[in-house]
């Protein structure tokens, strides 16, 4: 089997890229792991989020904004093609504050960033009363919030499913249960799977999430990424009680309240801990007291894919030209950018986005 691109990893990052390449007429084969492999795309919080991204690197803030701005078209196009509703809501998102100091500090940081973004950082400060007019169920310990108008959320599982479905519809080949163990380059790339299957392609993209830790160095990348656990809760389905998402809770389009997430450095362990979920529950009830009577249905742990500075990595291999590493912290937010802009960078087109600051050169 031979194609223009072999995409290693069929999570939201790999599938978004595959989709974009197929739209540009390339032939694509996606290789993905098995039912139990670590999959951030299956365990995330579903935010399409701009606020607080790139505080120290405005290019990242802008890249997130570009993606967020392209999300409506992205969702509509995927929705039309697959018949699924992506559940995208981009009416803004909230950061809740429990002390004035905290809020002031954040506002001053946002102002600094806003200046670097030529003023394109539309947020407003809501005091307690204004906030409760917007979100009647927010409790008294929340003193206020920042409402950022470029934020929103989506149904990440439907996004994943729609991408998986549409990549096939567009003629992409997706093979699951194919763990890539080796990559070689002669005139073509030759990828070997654990089960012996061999795939050939002119170019290859390593978008295997945490799988890049193993494969990256074999392909000439530094791939300095690590897992970070996030535990997440979901409740029973409720009538509408939360309007806008916050980093503490959001109401998913299917009715449940999603609560998240912890940040834990525990290596490759995606278990749920009682301590973790009890604190998430306590924080959520503190912010939204109405949640105290709501039933928790499920919790899970999933592993984020983090680079040392938290920024994405977009890098072509020097040792194996034509091999690209793509990995990021917020693959849902960036799905639109990966589907719509990144393929031009892979193709070396003139209109390619400038991703220089995201290269591995920043890791010495």
């Amino acid at each position: 089997m031979e194609s223009d691109y072999a995409i290693i990893g069929g999570g939201v990052v790999g599938l978004s890229i595959a989709w974009g390449l197929l739209k540009r007429g390339r032939s694509v084969t996606v290789l993905d792991g098995d039912d139990g492999s670590f999959r951030a795309s299956r365990g995330n919080f579903g935010l399409v989020w701009v606020q607080s991204k790139g505080m120290n690197q405005p290019r990242y803030a802008r890249w997130s904004q570009e993606s967020a701005a392209a999300w409506a078209d992205h969702a509509a196009e995927l929705g039309d093609a697959t018949g699924h509703d992506m559940g995208l809501r981009q009416d803004g998102g909230l950061t809740l504050f429990f002390s004035e100091d905290e809020m002031e500090k954040t506002v001053s940081d946002y102002e600094t960033l806003k200046a670097k973004l030529d003023g394109n950082y539309p947020y407003e400060i809501l005091g307690g009363n204004a906030l409760r007019r917007e979100e009647p169920h927010i409790g008294p310990s929340v003193i206020g919030a920042i409402l950022h108008h470029q934020d929103g959320h989506t149904n990440p599982l439907r996004l994943l499913q729609s991408l998986a479905q549409d990549v096939r519809r567009l003629g992409g080949t997706v093979l699951t249960g194919k763990q890539i163990t080796g990559v070689e380059k002669t005139d073509l790339f030759r990828l070997t799977c654990a089960d012996g299957t061999e795939i050939r392609a002119a170019k290859t993209v390593l978008s295997a999430g945490l799988g890049a830790i193993d494969l990256g160095p074999k392909m000439g990348f530094k791939a300095p990424i690590r897992p970070q656990r996030g535990q997440v809760l979901i409740t029973e389905k409720m009538p509408k009680i939360i309007n806008r998402p916050s980093l503490i809770a959001r109401q998913v389009d299917e009715g449940g309240i999603q609560i998240g997430a912890t940040n834990e450095e525990v290596d490759f362990n995606d278990d749920v801990t009682q301590d973790g979920i009890a604190h998430l529950a306590a924080d959520a009830v503190n912010a939204y007291p109405i949640l105290g009577k709501v039933n928790l249905i499920r919790s899970w742990g999933a592993l984020r894919i983090l680079s040392p500075d938290g920024l994405p990595i977009y890098q072509e291999s020097a040792a194996m030209p034509g091999a690209f590493l793509v990995t990021c912290h917020s693959g849902v937010t960036l799905s639109a950018a990966h589907a719509r802009f990144l393929p031009d960078w892979l193709e070396g087109n003139a209109n390619a986005p400038d991703l220089e600051v995201f290269s591995e050169a920043r890791f010495s």
Binding site: E236, K237, M238, P239, Q251, D253, E254, G255, K293
Partner: protein, 101 residues
Amino acid sequence: MKPAFRNLTAPASSPGQMVAVTFDGQELTLVEGENLAAALLAAGVDTFRETPVSGAPRAPFCMMGACFDCLVEIDGTVRQACLATVTDGMNIRKPNGTSDV
């Protein structure tokens, strides 16, 4: 409608007292201490809830706490009726969760 179940012992001869509860606004007289799902079935309640997904009617299926089709809202919290017991003045409603927010 007539209940689908018959009581082998007349409620009058049962050890518990008759108490008033409401189910979706309707007043019912049930035996205190009795299993709530059983008591509602005996009182002729056919539909315990409508599913949040399609609105389909549901009623107890397993009676052992495993299927969750007996979910009702009791005094503000959704609980499994088959694991609850009747208490005086219970305010029971069909859960109003939705899957289309």
